[in-house]
Structure formats: structure tokens, C-alpha cells
Amino acid sequence: MVWRDAKASRTRLLLFMASIILGIAAVVSIQLFSSNLKDNIYRQSKSLMGADYIIDTRNSPTERAQAIIDSLVPDAMEVNFMSMIAFPKNGGTKLVRVRGMEGDFPFYGSIDTQPISAASNYQDLGGALVDATLLLQFDVKPGDSIKVGEVTLPISGSLKAIPGSTAISTSVAPPIIIPYRFIDDTQLLQFGSRKEYQYFFKAPEISDFNLFEEQIGPKLDAEGSDLDTHSATSQRLGRRYENVGKFLNLAAFIALLLGCIGIASSVHIYIKEKLNAIAILKCMGASRLQSFLIFLIQIAGIGMVGGFIGSLIGIGVQELFPYFLKDFLPFDVEISISVQPIIIGVLLGLCMSVLFALLPLLRTWYVSPLDVLRIDEQGSKAPQNIRLLVFGCIVIFLYAFSFWLLSDAIYALGFVIATLITFTVLGGVALLSIRTIRRFFPKQWGFTARQSLLNLFRPNNQTVVLVVAIGLGTFLISTLYFTKDILLSKTDVGQMDESANIIILDVQREQRDAVVQSISAEGMPILDNIPLVTMRMHSIKGRMVNELRKDTTHQVRGWILNHEFRTTYRDSLIASEEMAEGEWTPTLEPGEPIVISISDNLANDAKVGVGDPIVFNVQGMLIETTVGSIRQVDWARVQLNFSVVFPKGVLEDAPQFNVLSTSAPDEQSSAKLQRDLVAEFPNVSIIDLRQVITLIEDILDKVSWIINFMAFFSIFTGIIVLIGSVLTSKYQRIKESVLLRTLGAKNTHIRQITAFEYLFLGLLGSLVGILLALVSSLFLALFVFNEPFYPSMIPFLVFLPGITLLVLVIGLSNIRSVLKSSPLEVLRREG
């Protein structure tokens, strides 16, 4: 009986299945990719790092740290720092990360170079390995030369990949590897230069890195050095990508939910149409259980088959992810297929389809044989408590599934509540709009327009489901666009005339005037000329930093104790700062007690407030200060921000270097300025903000692709639900259309009625989606990004008409068969 009934309704059942297939495909593809990602990180943890462990330190290691490092006998080391380089061949200049390498790093994995031999012989040949993209950018080839500070080296090969780096992390400052022995000759490591020393160790004999980290880590920490083991790196990486995976999982879950709602709604209408047949079966002696099972088995079968097909599609789709995510990942992801996600897919398909179909299915249980004589709409409904029980089961299942995805009870609860709210808002708005139209029905409108509006309230209408499906898809895509705009507006300095787009770092005091002159000679303004004085904290609120390091009970954050603060002095606040507490002191006369201003995050982390004393060590000289004010600093702004600011009149004579900024009107003048400055002052570093902004846009584009991809699943599921609903009500539509045609309506009338109806559904759904996205993005802008919100017009100009048109086309394409039906044939069938 199950099969016989299913055969008769196979088109409709296939559509139910399509909804579940898409949702499962989304979940399985993401699940598989996430598990592959984890496996790969675990398998490749050593080659990701290139060593068993690394000790790194800012500036030269302290004596004690050096003793520990020496005792462990490093197998390789490097010093790395940012600097400008030049290509003598064409005069091109660029800010890069210079890595002076000694020893046979990496011990695991390899440096990928072209020619391949360059990775092993650059040390012996005394050449440089230069980032492959950089070579392409400047049209330079292996065999040409590169000028690093005062040294000019031949380029041994192009550097494609090195353990521990991603394409994104190397885009701002591409890496250049040179033998360590040339570092002194470059004369680039001067006072104030930011540099990092890394010591690489190969220690296959260590079996328990956690224990090793516990023993050595704190000792190195106390000396301002860090220990990083390959297992810790893989855990950290794992966590980072797990978060990406979790987000994608949730997006896929939403697509699946949407499909389930489509199923529930279609099954509702499907069962309603079957009530008479069920009543006949019951008249002939079928039990409640038998009639219930006929349809339960059908739906369960659809769920399982849908889950299986969805899993297979998911396996196919996951092959795409590594391609689009490759720039984010520091390693290649090898895709392997396990059975687990397929089992999950099938089970998920089964559970979700049965659960969401249960409410309408219950009607088969309660339908009375008397309904053969007369269908009683209310009589076949399940009692209230049973319906509540089913609803409770659905919510519990949603929660359990979210918990399984997120492994966090509170987040899972938050997600379920947020999902319920989103669906309720979308459904509520749809209902409200329908009621409003009903209440203020435009009686004066033409017949076709009125008839199409009436269709929205027709019996068995799926207006709410369609508005939710269309709305949710539009909501996801629009939120992405609005958020992208907020993020981009933060980096949009390159388009403002008066903003700095070139920053010149590490300008020594004696070079300052000459650099200023060079910039002015190019006709460019000096926008900032900021002095930088480096210092460390000596004591906080009367307690020595060394003492705090040993005290395990203190609440001061660890970084404060080892950090080299780059401070400045000035007499006014800048645009990114706001006073949060205390009073700003612009200048001080000699002899006056020194009051400083600190940023709010520093105040939090160092547990200090206004009036607390801090003693700084400035190149061996102790300066006693008191916190005079606390500033709220917007660190996200592309400008130089400081956690510690001194008033004028204190640090003028301290050892310092300067940061200058200017604005180049175009790329040519920017390139010329960079060339001139690098030629004259090889130690200064130049950041071209235009390139940084392009890079950020690039990253956002890639992130958008992934989110768009997930939104696509949602939209696509919405379309399937749409097609399903159009088909479900097709027979009713055929009858009505034929009646209208019998009464003299032309095909144009029928088309107009359908077009208006779907136009309205598309418009309402996408408009509600965009408006919801607008509200959520406004909240994101205000509370997460702390930025003013200027919404993009793209969702209104592109998504709104685009999605509406899509809905319209689907609606009209389904009415074609209605128009072809012979009126008499339909009237006879109905008769």
C-alpha cells in the first residue's frame, strides 16, 4: 500500500525529497570538509611548522634566555624584520619581511622554490629566495639581483611556499630569505628596528611536548621569549579553522531547516488531500496504526533516500572547498571520504523529515471513517497536548543537533533561540502583511490584480512558507553585503584626499629632516610626524615587574610584563581617541610630576586606573609616572594609535625614532617617492596603504564567496520549496484557471493573475529579508564594529529585483501546463 500510494504521487514526493537533498548536501559537504581539515592539520603539524619546536623572541634574547637556547642546541635560527628592498634591474621597491636564515630549516616539509635546487643551495651560493608573486609583480627573475639595505645579492630562486606561512599572511610583506651571514652587512638592524629571532629545534626524541612545554615554557616566558611546539601549533590551527567550520555548519543547518519547513508544509497539504482516501481505508477496516504507517513509511523512506542522495552530492561539493579556501590554509587539504558523514546524512534526513512531517502526519491517526461522508476540518486534528509534544521534540532535536555541531551548551541554546526568532519574525511579517492586505483590501483594483492578491489567502496557500524561504536566503546574502561594507568603510582611507596613504617607519632622529625634505620636494604634504620612544614597564602600582612575574596570584596580563611599549608624546587627542576617564594633560614644565594617558585596554590588562603610579624603563633610565587619563582607542582605524601617550615636555630628549605619513596622489608618484627614499635611507620601511586596502578587499571577497555559497544553498532550497508549493497547488490552480477560462478569461488574464501573485511573494520575501538584514547589520555596526552604518544599495538595486524576478519566472513556468489543459478534461475530472 505504501508503494502503491507513493507511485501515484511520485512527482510530489520527489519534490519533498529535493528539499531534504539540498539541506543534507550542505551539511554533509561542510562536515566532511571540517573533518578532513582537522585530520590534515593533525597529520601535517610538523611540516606546518617545519620543526619540532621553535623559541622566538623580540629583539636579542636575554642572557638567561640565550643560555637556555644554547643548552637546547638549536639546529637552525633566523632573524626577521620588515624592510624595504629594491630591484636594481628596474628600480622597483617594496616593503618585505627579510628572513636571515642559518642552518638547515625546515626539518619537516620543504621550502618550495623554482628552480627546486634553489631551496638547498641558496645558503652556499650566497643568494636570496624571493617571494614568487613579488618577482612576478616587478618582472624580476632568478639570476637578477636584489638590494637589501647595503647588500646586493643574486636571486637564487622564487619562493613559493615555506612552512608556517599562508598566502594571506605573506601578502602585506612578502618574505625574502637570505643567508644570516649577510644581515650585519645590510646595516638594516638599527636602533628601534622591530625584529624577531627564531630558533628552530629538531627533537624527535621528545615524546611528550606538553610536559616539555610545562618545564621550559615558563622559564622562557619570564625572559620575554616564547616556546612554540608543533603540537600546540596544530591545536591552535585546529581551533582557528574549527571556528570557520562551525560557522559554515550552522549556515548549512539553516539550509536544512528551510528544507524541513518546506517538507512540513508540503506534507500538510499532501495529507489533507489524502484524508478522504484514509477515511475510505478506515471504512474498509484499516486500523489507525496501519493508515498512519502508510504515510510515515513513505516520509521516512523519502528522508532516508534524500539523506543518501544529499550525502553523495555533499561528497562531490566538498571537493570545491579546498580550491576556494586554499589561500587561507597553510597546507594542502587532501580530501578523503569516510562513511561517517554518509551515515549522519541518512540519519539526519530520516530524523528531520519524520519530525517535521509528524504534525501533519498525525492527522491520519485522528481522521474518522465518517469523513468519507463529510470531511471535518477540525475533527482530524491531533489534540493540543500531542501537538505540543511534537513541537517540543522538534525543538529538542534542534538543540541536540546544534550542540553536536558547536560543542557548547550556551551557544547551541543561543543558536536555537536566534533561529526561532528569525523564523518567527519572517513568518510574523508575512502573516502581518497578509492580514494588512486583507484588512485594507484594494477593492478598486482591477480584476486580475485583486484575484492574484486573493490567491495569497487561498485555502492551502503557502504564502508564509515561501516568504520565510525567500526572506531567509535574501537575509543571508544581504547581511553579507551590508557587513562587507562596514568592514570596507573602516579601511577606506585610500579614497579620502586628506588621509595618509603612505606611512614611513623607522626614521632615525638624524634622518628626520632629510626625509621630510625629500617628501616635500615631491610636492607631498607631511600629514604626521610622530616621535616614537620605546620603553618597558619597570613597576606597576609600586610592585616591581620582576616580582609580578614570579607571583602567580597577580591579575596583570602576561604581555604587559614583557612588552616593549612604543610610546609617543603630544599635546592633543587624535580622531581615533576619546576620553573615557580622568583629565588630559597637554604639556608639562620641567620638574612637574609626569602624568600620562593610557588606552582603555591597557588599563584593563594592567589593572590600573587614574591616579595609579607606573614606572617605565626608557633605555636604562627610570621614569616615574602617574596615570592621568584613560582613552578609548579605536584600534581598527588605519592610523597610528598608542597605548601610552606622554604630554609634551618630557620625552623630547629621550632616544627616539619617527614615523611619518604622507598622501601620494597616485600610484606613480607613490612608487617614485618609495624608490627615492629607499635609495637614500635604506633602513626606513614604507607601507603603501593602497596595497593593504586592495589586499583586505581581496580577503573579504574570498570570505564573501564562502558565505555566498552557503546563502546559495539556502536560496536554492527556497526555490525547491517554491517549486514544490507551486506544484502542490497546481491541481487547484488548474481547476480555477479552467473555470475562469470557461467563463471567458483569456490566457493573458491567467498569466497576469499568476504573475501578480508571485511578484508580490517575491517582493515581500526579498524585501523582508533585506530589511531584516539592514536591522541586523545596523546592530553589528553599532555594537560589534563601532562604526557608523551607511548601507549599500546593492541589495535594494540588485537582490530585490533579481530574486523577485526569479520567483516570478518559476511561478510562470509552472502555470504553462495549466494553460495547456483542456477545460472539458478538467471539468470532467473534477465533476
Binding site: L740, G744, A745, L824, G831
Partner: protein
């Protein structure tokens, strides 16, 4: 009297797998303007098929149908729809009202399709005539069978048709209600001069029309005036 419906050599066959099923063959007859005409015959004799062909709801395989002076085979679907809208009224056994529209709106449909500005007013008058003044804003599901058929009757006369086709108009009604509907139908026919073509099993009803055409096995058995019968 001029002829409003001319049927000549009509044949209709349906395909069922490899088999051809002939439902109607060699059907020729005429209906005069203002005449009341009934088609009777046992189940499966082709009555409803014949009505559908006469009203242009389906296409014959052979033969011609001339309705209101127009050969239906020369008209496309939209032109046939227009012809129906301007000249034809229908009544069905199962009423065939649009479930999403109220009684008033159902009656207004033919007039609205004509673009009439007095659709509501005319429909109200017609509903009053069929005794449904108090039920105008009710949906079909809120009306009894007899009431639904009266709405259908009002709708059938809404566009002041030249010819009205009624397919078993009392088939779903009890005797008393059926009688009321028939009386109403005949009254309206007299009042407006509309030609009436009724398909029925009910010989008593057929006898109240001026001409009876008997069908059997898809062929005409007799076609005679009631007086002769």
C-alpha cells in the same frame, strides 16, 4: 427562427494506449435561438463531451461547430474564451464556484472579465433574483448545495448570455431544491430569451424543454420536438 448552434458531422475520439475510443460520431443537429433544448442519454453516451464541444471547451476530431454564427474551429483559445464570455453561460452539476471568492465575487467574474463598471450592482440584482440577497458575502463552503447552484445560476446569467449550457443542473440537489432551481432557470430563460441547452438524465425535466435529443453509444438516437414525443 435563426440558428444559434449548428453542429455538423461531429466526431470525437480519445486515445487510450494503442486503442482509439470513439465517444461521439456523426452528430448533426441545430438549436434555434431562444429555444429550450435538452440532451438525454444513459451514462457514457457522450452527453458531457457533446456539451463541451458545443461550448468550445474542447476540439472535435471531425466536423464543425458553429456557435452564435462563428465556426469554432477557426477561432483560437483566446477568441473562443472571448466568445464564451460575451455569449455563453454555464451551469455545472457540481456548481464549479471559485472557492476563494464570495458569492457576489463569483457572480461578478464574467462581468469583470468584460471590464464592466457595474459588475457589483448587476451581480447584486441577480443574486436577489435567485433569493440569495442575504448570502452575498458568503464563501461557497459556507453555502448549501442548493444555494451554491443558485449562485452558479446567477453567474450564468450575469453576462446576459445568448445561450446557456447546463450540465445535469439538478444532479447534486434534492428533488425540492432541484425543482426550485429548474423553475428559476426556465423563468430566467423566458425573461431574457436566452437559449437553454440542458443535459440531463431526468426525463421529466427534459419534457419541460421544447426539443429533446437522445444519445446512445455516442450517436444520435432521436432528435425531436417534445410535442411530437
Amino acid at each position: 427562427m435563426s440558428k444559434i448552434l449548428k453542429i455538423n458531422g461531429l466526431e470525437k475520439t480519445y486515445s487510450s494506449g494503442n486503442k482509439q475510443l470513439t465517444v461521439l460520431q456523426n452528430i448533426t443537429f441545430n438549436v434555434e435561438k431562444g429555444q429550450t433544448f435538452s440532451i438525454v442519454g444513459p451514462s457514457g453516451s457522450g452527453k458531457t463531451t457533446l456539451l463541451g464541444l458545443c461550448a468550445g471547451l474542447d476540439q472535435p476530431n471531425r466536423g464543425t461547430v458553429e456557435l452564435c454564427g462563428k465556426d469554432l474551429s477557426e477561432l483560437d483559445e483566446d477568441q473562443r474564451a472571448q466568445l464564451r464570455n460575451e455569449n455563453v453561460g454555464f451551469i455545472f452539476q457540481n456548481f464549479q464556484l471559485l472557492p476563494t471568492l464570495t458569492a457576489l465575487e463569483n457572480v461578478s467574474v464574467p462581468l469583470e472579465l468584460q471590464g464592466s463598471s457595474t459588475a457589483t450592482q448587476t451581480s447584486m440584482t441577480l443574486l436577489e433574483k435567485v433569493g440569495l440577497k442575504d448570502r452575498v458575502h458568503h464563501y461557497p463552503s459556507q453555502l448549501s448545495g442548493g444555494e451554491q447552484q443558485r449562485v452558479a445560476l446567477a453567474r450564468a446569467f450575469a453576462n446576459a448570455p445568448s445561450i446557456l449550457f447546463a450540465d445535469e443542473p439538478t444532479g447534486n440537489l434534492d428533488e425540492e431544491t432541484g425543482e426550485k432551481v429548474i423553475q428559476l432557470l426556465l423563468d430566467l430563460n423566458k425573461e431574457t430569451g436566452t437559449t437553454l441547452v440542458i443535459i440531463t438524465h431526468d426525463l421529466e425535466l427534459a419534457n419541460r424543454t421544447q426539443q429533446i435529443l437522445r444519445l446512445k453509444g455516442g450517436e444520435i438516437l432521436t432528435n425531436q420536438p417534445t410535442a411530437v414525443l
